[in-house]
C-alpha cells in the first residue's frame, strides 16, 4: 500500500519570498500538489477558478466555515480567504504530497488541525531587506508596508513552533534547502514501509 501523502507548509512573514520559493519548487518537483485557496474576492483578470483560487460568494464561504471545511481561514480587507480541508485531505489519502503556502496566522491554525504536517518557516535575512522587498513589489501602500513590518517583528516570534527554518538571503540556496527538506522528509523512517522491502 502506498504511504499517505505528506503535507508541507511553507510559511513566513509577508514579503519574505515564500511565493517565489513555492513557484521555484513546483518547477523543480513534479510530484507536489499545490493546495488551492478559496476566496470571496472577485477574480483578477486572467485568474482561473479552481486553478488560482476557488472563487466563492459570501454565502458559500460561510457555509464551508459552518461545516468546518477549512483547515484555516481569515478575513483580509473585507474579503475571506481559506484553505479547503477536503481538497488537502483527499490528496493526502491518495498518497499525494501537498504543498501549502500560507501566512503565519494560517499556518498556526493548520498546525492545530494537522500537527503531523511539516512546517517550514521562511525567515528574512534582516528587516531592512524585507522592507525593500515589500516596497519593491509596488503593490502595497507605505502605510500598509509600515503596518506589515511591525507585524513582521511580532510574527518572527512564531518561528519556534515550526519544524524547520530556512533563511531566504539567497533565493537559489533557499529553494535548494526547502527542496532538501521535502526530499529528506520522504526518507524518514515513519514513512518507509519496511514490511514490503
Amino acid at each position: 500500500m502506498r504511504r499517505r501523502g505528506i503535507l508541507f507548509v511553507i510559511s513566513g512573514p509577508s514579503g519574505v519570498g515564500k511565493g517565489t520559493i513555492r513557484e521555484a519548487l513546483l518547477k523543480r518537483m513534479d510530484d507536489l500538489k499545490v493546495s488551492i485557496s478559496a476566496t470571496t474576492r472577485p477574480p483578477r483578470p486572467g485568474e482561473v477558478d479552481g486553478k488560482d483560487y476557488f472563487f466563492l460568494n459570501q454565502e458559500q464561504f460561510k457555509k464551508m466555515i459552518e461545516e468546518d471545511n477549512f483547515l484555516e481561514w481569515a478575513k483580509v480587507y473585507q474579503n475571506l480567504y481559506g484553505t479547503p480541508r477536503d481538497f488537502v485531505l483527499e490528496n493526502l489519502e491518495k498518497g499525494q504530497d501537498v504543498l501549502l503556502e500560507i501566512d503565519i496566522q494560517g499556518a498556526m491554525q493548520v498546525k492545530n488541525k494537522m500537527p503531523e504536517g511539516v512546517f517550514i518557516f521562511i525567515y528574512p535575512p534582516d528587516i531592512a531587506t524585507l522592507s525593500k522587498r515589500l516596497c519593491g513589489r509596488g503593490k502595497d501602500s507605505i502605510e500598509s508596508i509600515k503596518h506589515r513590518l511591525a507585524a513582521c517583528e511580532e510574527e518572527l516570534k512564531h518561528a519556534k513552533y515550526y519544524d524547520y527554518v530556512v533563511v531566504n538571503d539567497d533565493l537559489d540556496v533557499a529553494v535548494k534547502k526547502t527542496e532538501a527538506i521535502i526530499i529528506a522528509e520522504r526518507c524518514r523512517i515513519k514513512y518507509i514501509d519496511l514490511e514490503v522491502m
Copy 2:
C-alpha cells in the same frame, strides 16, 4: 555562538554502497569532517596513519577500550576496529558536523552513546543486487559472501531504529537523498538560534 556540530551516521549492510555514498558526499560537501577509525590491522600499501585509519597496536587499542574512549568497537577476523570518541566529540564541540560511515552493529553502539546523532540506513534495492555487488568487488571469498548475505537479512531488521532510510537502487539518487538529509537537518528548528536572528 556557533551551534554544536551534528553527527551524521551512514550505515547499512556490507556491500550496500555506503562507502561509495560517503566518498560522493565528501566531493559535494566541503563542510563535513569524516570520522577516522582506529584499527590494529597493519596498514595496506598506500594507507596513511591519521588519514585512512589511526593504526594502533593491541595494547594501545585495549587501553582506549578501558578508558571508554570508543563510541563503538568490534573484533573482525582477529583485528580490532573502533571509532575514537574524542576525535568525534572535539569536532562537534567546535561546531563541525561529523560524518561517520559504519556497519550496523557499530551504528547501534553509537546510537546508544549519542542518540542525538542523525542515523541514516542505506538500504539495498534487493538481495540479488547486493549479492552481485559483494561478488563484483572481488575482495571477498564465496564463503564470506554467503555468510554476509545471511547476516544481511538479519541486519535489515535494524532499519527501524534509524531516523532515515535511503534505498540505494540508483547511486546518484541515493547520494542526492543523503545530501538532502544533511542539508535539511541543518535547518531543523532545534539547531537554529532564533535569539541572534
